[in-house]
């Protein structure tokens, strides 16, 4: 069987086969669900990196890949941020590559279009993430833009959620508090060579004080200047030492939501609305249509 062959190729760390499989899953090619059901359960930690546009997430991811590779790790990056240069690379095909890591044997980078089903993220993001986890990587990095619904999803998807911020006025931090504050397992204050960086970190710590008691684990704040690779080693250490605690329930909730959706799709697969309509039209014309009687005919 073709899928079986692909699975074997992935076991052999075949990058092209992996890329092909992701495309097939992305396009929901015939048999993809069965293929996914046969995947071994991988345990590579998923690192979600999110934050407002302009926070320098992609530069940070680029630097973080470097740090991980330097530590002998294999890294997969999924980019679901439409404004990310990684995604731009995908858009422009092979002509422009925004990261040196595209051709490195320890690194696998993939961009996904955002077309939200469960809110913000790609409908197959859970499947593709498990596929990467089942492959040969030590870390899976998922880069998303921190806007709206995708925030809630990223915490479900990721074992460790990193929120990237830049030093800004106190008021702006206050407004974003609602969305991004609660989801962070690690904060990164990027572009921290800016003069107001320390004041910003101070504000952030004050805001996080009450959160500390609910999280039971202090939320680290790492200052970075990704463009100069500063603070990246510290960030990597924080990631490597992070113990996921409150993660499980959110993760299960996301998976339960997705499982429900998949079961529903599966159970309704035999029903075509057009066929249903034509049948109903025929019965209506014959003057015999009783909606609830009709529905009784459709058992499970």
């Amino acid at each position: 069987m073709k899928w079986q062959q692909r699975l074997q190729q992935i076991h052999q760390q075949d990058t092209k086969a992996l890329a092909r499989c992701i495309s097939l899953v992305e396009n929901e090619a015939a048999g993809y669900q069965q293929f996914l059901s046969q995947l071994p359960v991988g345990h590579a930690p998923v690192i979600g990196i999110t934050g407002p546009p302009g926070a320098g997430k992609s530069t940070l991811v680029d630097a973080l890949i470097g740090e991980m590779v330097a530590n002998g790790k294999k890294v997969a990056v999924l980019c679901v941020d439409p404004s990310s240069p990684f995604n731009l690379g995908a858009l422009l095909g092979d002509r422009i590559r925004m990261s040196d890591w595209y051709s490195h044997p320890s690194v696998f980078i993939r961009s996904l279009a955002t077309r939200g089903s469960l809110g913000g993220l790609h409908p197959q993001i859970i499947a593709i993430t498990s596929l990467l986890q089942a492959a040969w990587f030590d870390y899976i990095i998922v880069e998303t833009v921190g806007v709206g619904q995708s925030e809630i999803e990223i915490v479900g998807l990721a074992d460790t959620t990193i929120v990237v911020l830049v030093p800004e006025a106190g008021d702006e931090v206050q407004t974003m508090k609602a969305g991004l504050m609660e989801i962070a397992d690690i904060f990164v204050v990027n572009k921290s060579d800016r003069p107001d960086a320390d004041l910003f970190v101070h504000h952030l710590k004050q805001m996080l004080a009450p959160t500390f008691y609910t999280k039971q684990q202090e939320v680290p704040i790492i200052k970075t200047t990704a463009s100069q690779k500063k603070g990246i080693a510290e960030l990597y250490t924080a990631i490597a030492h992070y113990q996921p605690l409150a993660h499980n329930q959110r993760h299960s909730r996301l998976l339960a939501e997705k499982a429900y959706q998949l079961i529903q799709q599966k159970r309704m697969k035999d029903i075509d609305k057009q066929v249903l309509m034509e049948e109903i039209e025929r019965l209506s014309l014959a003057g015999e249509f009783n909606l609830y009687g009709f529905v009784e005919g459709f058992g499970c």
Copy 2:
């Protein structure tokens, strides 16, 4: 069986039993779907009356009831317009009755809260309409406010859709054209004692000219002054003579949509998201969770 008894009472034209059954269906009481599936298929025409707020729909319905009763007909009225005085009557209970017809033996009036599922209308509107059709009425009148999604539903629900307008400036007619024009089987220009009524009817006719060719049947325009019972006999004649033509497909589409929803509900009845989540959490903690493998266990 209780439901069986209720069905018999409805056969005996028991108004109280009918009202009780509608409440049970409205509240989705145990066994209501089976009860509905056993209802005989009724053929009483459903007359949808819609139009912008302030067009005098309720006054028109009141006058139309009178005309129908005078012709020896039995009439049921479903009011799903939250701004309607009929609905206000329901809101205020028995203390204020906005229509003399509430206590007439040939008339049955019922107001429903609007809490849209399929857009604008009440989620049980199809069920309640069939229940009324299965009862002893010659006509079922459904009064709705003509705003947004409910327009599309009313044409699916009604055998004859009556759009009520009032004489207004030409520009305003133009803007409402998109929504209300295509759905009308009969136009009523109410408050036609206003000085600009004839000009309005003239504009309306001009606008309808291209529609004529798609409808294959000229759309009658009836001038009424409902508050003075003027034009009501003409309206009744138009209703009695209307031959539903293009209706069937829209009706089937609405029913197919609803049938799909009901089948989905039925097939997913055994699945509780909370239980699903707990099961997934347990498997995740054991490090054994494969989403697609898990979903395979849920056949149909």
